[in-house]
Each structure stands twice: as structure tokens, then as C-alpha cells.
């Protein structure tokens, strides 16, 4: 017995197109999800991630941002100065100040001159800053998901983070989203 499946019959003069399913009308696209993995906490990289996240949400694409390592720091409240439980974690937060308004540049930081100039230019050209974009992204339903492992490593508590973040998850969840078809972006 052969168990070869018969090829589907194609009849030329009959339309082989399946009926178009009714589109759920919410004015948004039904395309692939976008997954931004934010590893960097540098000003310009956080900024770029926020621009892409808001643009993606505006395109009607389901958008998630997974924050890990230094990428967690912009999502700590601006008012938090020292975070962590032990001296190493406290020292880390002292040297790398958390909060989206306290990001430094990866290059040309010049003791804060670089970020100051970049922010002045953004104001002049009416470009939205990282904080404004983050708020817009949250309002548009972008999911911000902290990395559990680095949250623990930095000794960060739920109350250290800004409001509205998702439950912390691990790498398996992130890889799972990619295998399900999310377009990944590592920043």
C-alpha cells in the first residue's frame, strides 16, 4: 500500500482563491509582531528603540519590548537614585544612574554635554524625546517586558520600575515569541 497523498486538483477555469476572511475593523494592520530586545541603556540607543516601538505601534503592529541588562535602567523611575540590596548593586546604580531622564551617550558624552546638546537639538527640531516616546508607546499598547534574571541581578524591585510594565520573563519566552514569527530587533 502506498500512502502517497494525491496532489490537490487544480481546475484552471475555477477560481482557486479562498474567500477572504472578514477583517476585524480596528483601522490597524494584521501583520507580524515586532519584538525589540533592548540591551543598551545608552541615551541614543534607548531613543532609537522608543522611536521604532512607537512607529511600530502606530502601524498597527503588535509590539513588545524586552528589556535586559543595561536596557532595564531607563525603566526605573527617574526619582530612584540608589537601587539594589547589597553594596555591589548599590554601587552599580550609583555609577550608572537609572531612569529614562538620566541616560548617557555611548559616545561623545563629555560629562553630560553630549546629552544636553542632543536634547537641545531635539527641542529645536521638535523631535520627541525618549520619555515622551515611552509614554506614547505605553498609551498605544506597546508591551514592555523586563528580563527576570537581570532584574534580580541588579536587585531591582517592582516598585523601582515605572508603572505599566509587564511581568518579568526569561529568555525562553523571548525565543518563543521569535519562533512564533515575531520580527526581532536587538538594540
Amino acid at each position: 500500500m502506498t500512502a502517497v497523498a494525491e496532489p490537490p486538483m487544480v481546475i484552471a477555469d475555477e477560481p482557486s482563491v479562498a474567500p477572504v476572511p472578514a477583517v476585524e475593523d480596528d483601522g490597524a494592520a494584521k501583520s507580524k509582531d515586532v519584538l525589540i530586545i533592548l540591551y543598551s541603556g545608552d541615551l541614543e540607543k534607548t531613543w532609537a528603540a522608543m522611536i521604532l516601538a512607537t512607529a511600530s505601534a502606530a502601524m498597527g503592529v503588535k509590539t513588545r519590548v524586552f528589556m535586559t541588562f543595561w536596557g532595564l535602567l531607563p525603566f526605573v523611575k527617574d526619582s530612584r537614585r540608589i537601587t539594589g540590596e547589597n553594596w555591589m548593586q548599590k554601587l552599580l546604580s550609583l555609577m550608572k544612574r537609572p531612569g529614562i531622564s538620566h541616560r548617557k551617550m555611548s559616545t561623545m558624552n563629555f560629562l553630560g554635554m553630549g546629552p544636553w546638546m542632543l536634547n537641545s537639538l531635539a527641542k529645536k527640531y521638535k523631535a520627541a524625546g525618549p520619555k515622551e516616546l515611552l509614554e506614547a508607546a505605553q498609551a498605544m499598547g506597546v508591551e514592555f517586558i523586563p528580563c527576570q534574571m537581570t532584574t534580580d541581578l541588579f536587585g531591582l524591585k517592582r516598585e523601582d520600575f515605572i508603572e505599566g510594565l509587564g511581568e518579568p520573563v526569561g529568555a525562553a519566552t523571548v525565543i518563543g515569541l521569535m519562533t512564533e514569527g515575531s520580527s526581532p530587533l536587538f538594540i
Binding site: V23, A55, A58, M59, A127, A128, A136, M140
Partner: protein, 77 residues
Amino acid sequence: MPLEIAQRVDAKGLACPMPIVKTAQAVKTMTSGQLLEVLATDAGSTKDFAAWCKTTGNELVESSAEGGVYRFVLRRK
């Protein structure tokens, strides 16, 4: 279809990605078939609005530029 503008978005002076962000927010409040007019000065917006419409499935009815101001008329799908 009547060419009556139901809503307007003034994104003049705003830089990427705010024109499309404001557009997406406005479109959410509209009903199917309604027209939205967007004014922008961002030089990238001609391509950005075409891409936005292509991805979201809303129709780009008009796209014009005059004196550095780009005007788009979109029909909510």
C-alpha cells in the same frame, strides 16, 4: 463617497515618528469610510504615509506638497 474631511491632524513642525503616531491615534477614533486630513512638514512623511497606509490597509486618497507643507487625505478602512 463624499470628500468631506471628518478629522484633521496638524503635525506641522513635528519630527518622525510623531506624525504617524498622531495619525494612528486619530484614525482609532474614526469610523470606516471617514476621511482624515494630515498636514506635516517632515520631509520623510511622503514615503512614511504611503508605507503607513500600505501596512495598515487604510487608503491614501491624496498626497500633495505645497510650500514645504505635505498634505495627506486618508480614508479609514
